[in-house]
């Protein structure tokens, strides 16, 4: 009997982390894209606030809006940088999947460990410095308060559940590779739909009143709206507890669903004779 069942996954986490470091040049272009996007977004919302008759639109003053949008871009950077989608879709299209299945570790666990390594690398190398820079700009330049320590802590928990949610969904979406060749197209569509539903392009308070509570209880809220609203202090402790609970619940549910999907997939592989 192995005493620590997680020990065998440590190698995968470490491997993905080192792999991330080796390819940080590629990631740097993503960061560059984020910077350009953020820059233009600031201008777009400036124009919207300039046209508006009131200083506050749907509960957001302009500096808060910018904080929300910047933090959501930074958050999605480290929470949605999982490996499952690419890994699983490559495994399927190249036929490597049989090879992966022979390893004495769970296939789902193996991919999730890779994701953790990736996200950890991204968080330490890019997110921490960028967050500090952003917060300095907001506190010194815009006079916004620095986030409370407990909000940062809850934010990190929410971010971790976002990793699980994104990665589990990616893992399941990648299984469509058995049915279609245009998997990358699906992935892009999934990303843009999720970004919208997670409140990444527009905060939930801009949505119609009936849609807001619905969105808050769907798994997408955990990918953007919940962590960032916690971080910038828009939720009190009770709201934080509720929203965090919803995200964690979805994370557990979706992880289990992805394990089940994995079992179904393996039986599919067998029946195809792969």
């Amino acid at each position: 009997m192995q005493r620590n069942p997680f020990k065998k996954y440590r190698g995968f986490i470490k491997g993905a982390f080192l792999n991330f470091l080796a390819f940080r040049g590629e990631i740097f272009t993503w960061v560059l894209q984020d910077v350009i996007t953020t820059f233009i977004m600031v201008f777009l919302w400036f124009a919207i606030y300039k046209e508006s008759s009131s200083q506050i639109i749907n509960g957001f003053a302009y500096p808060q809006m910018i904080m929300y949008l910047v933090f959501i871009v930074l958050s999605s950077n480290w929470t949605s940088n999982g490996a499952s989608f690419q890994e699983v879709s490559h495994d399927i299209s190249d036929g490597n999947i049989a090879n992966s299945l022979t390893r004495p570790v769970s296939y789902r666990g193996q991919k999730f460990a890779l994701t953790l390594g990736n996200c950890l690398g991204n968080f330490l190398i890019f997110s921490v410095p960028l967050f500090i820079i952003a917060m300095l700009i907001f506190s010194l330049g815009l006079g916004q308060p620095w986030p409370q320590w407990y909000n940062i802590l809850f934010y990190l928990v929410a971010g971790c559940s976002a990793i699980v949610i994104t990665d589990s969904i990616d893992f399941m979406v990648a299984q469509l590779g058995f049915l279609t060749n245009s998997l990358f197209g699906i992935f892009l569509i999934k990303n843009s739909v999720f970004a919208f539903l997670a409140g990444q392009t527009i905060p939930y308070s801009f949505f119609p009143a009936w849609a807001q509570p619905v969105l808050e209880y769907l798994p997408f809220s955990g990918l953007g709206s919940t962590p960032v609203n916690i971080l910038i202090g828009r939720y009190d402790l009770l709201q934080t507890a509720i929203h965090l609970g919803v995200s964690l619940g979805w994370a557990i549910f979706l992880y289990i669903a992805s394990v089940v999907a994995n079992h179904l997939m393996i039986s599919h592989v067998e029946s195809a004779g792969g």
Partner: protein
């Protein structure tokens, strides 16, 4: 087996259609929700913005239909030795890369663009005289070259380091901001001036829809341009669009030719 492969293609087709519908619903809702709190953005009402979005979909769809394969070359096809196969044939390599694949999904975008224009256009009281519409159409014929040029020059980076999909999609996605009238970025300080002119000349996604339609929707109003402003003359704007499109296209093509010389076979 034959049935199975047919099913695969049908699934692809259905997924393509679903993707087209889903991404356009998302765009529609984003534009709607972000402009809902205000009456208009720099004089552009939601109907005007949607009309411009429909207009933009047409050149984008044409480019998408004809040159979609470039994404695959940026995304790792070069690593698999695909380029060797192409370079062996006595035909222009760029032509071969594009002609390999016809993306029907792009035609869906063109149709959708026409639908959006006919839904949102009639309420706008647009000037439909020949001297307005003709230069707009001519400009729009050259506009796909702009999308193509951005894709081509960023894809060519892959000849140096095998993959360029991230920089490719990074710059291409700036097109999202061309969906709003570019003048909203022109907020009166130097930073706004820079963003505005970048969207007009460097990554000219703001040029394609905003410039011709601003002249059509607001006749007689000057349009900011570099550090000065120009009158909203449709033929002048047509000339600017053609010039920018050609400069970008030939610049990208020269870079493509240059980068191709750098390419070392992967040995596949």
């Amino acid at each position: 087996m034959a049935l199975k492969s047919k099913m695969i293609y049908r699934a692809d087709w259905a997924i393509g259609l679903l993707g087209l519908v889903a991404s356009n619903i998302v765009t529609f809702l984003s534009l709607y929700l972000s402009t809902l709190p205000v009456q208009s953005l720099d004089g552009w009402t939601f109907n005007r913005i949607m009309f411009m979005y429909g207009f933009l979909l047409i050149p984008m769809g044409i480019d998408h239909t004809l040159t979609d394969k470039l994404w695959n070359y940026g995304g790792g096809l070069i690593n698999q030795g695909e380029l060797d196969r192409i370079l062996m044939k006595p035909l222009n390599p760029l032509f071969q890369m594009c002609a390999e694949f016809f993306q029907e999904g792009g035609l869906g975008e063109v149709v959708l663009g026409i639908v959006f224009m006919s839904i949102f256009g009639p309420g706008l009281n647009l000037d439909m005289s020949f001297n307005t519409v003709f230069p707009i159409v001519v400009g729009a014929i050259f506009s796909p070259l702009i999308y193509f040029a951005i894709k081509l020059s960023t894809m060519s980076i892959a000849f140096y380091n095998r993959r360029s999909i991230s920089i490719m999609s990074g710059l291409y996605n700036i097109k999202e901001y061309g969906k709003y009238p570019a003048s909203i970025y022109h907020i009166g300080n130097w930073a706004g001036e820079v963003v505005y002119n970048v969207l007009l000349f460097i990554l000219p996604f703001g040029l394609i829809g905003y410039l011709p339609l601003a002249a059509q929707m607001f006749p007689g109003k000057d349009i900011p341009f570099l550090w000065f402003s120009i009158p909203g003359n449709n033929y002048l704007i047509m000339g600017i669009i053609i010039a920018v499109a050609l400069v970008h296209f030939f610049g990208a093509y020269l870079f493509f030719k240059h980068a191709l010389k750098h390419y070392n076979s992967a040995g596949a």
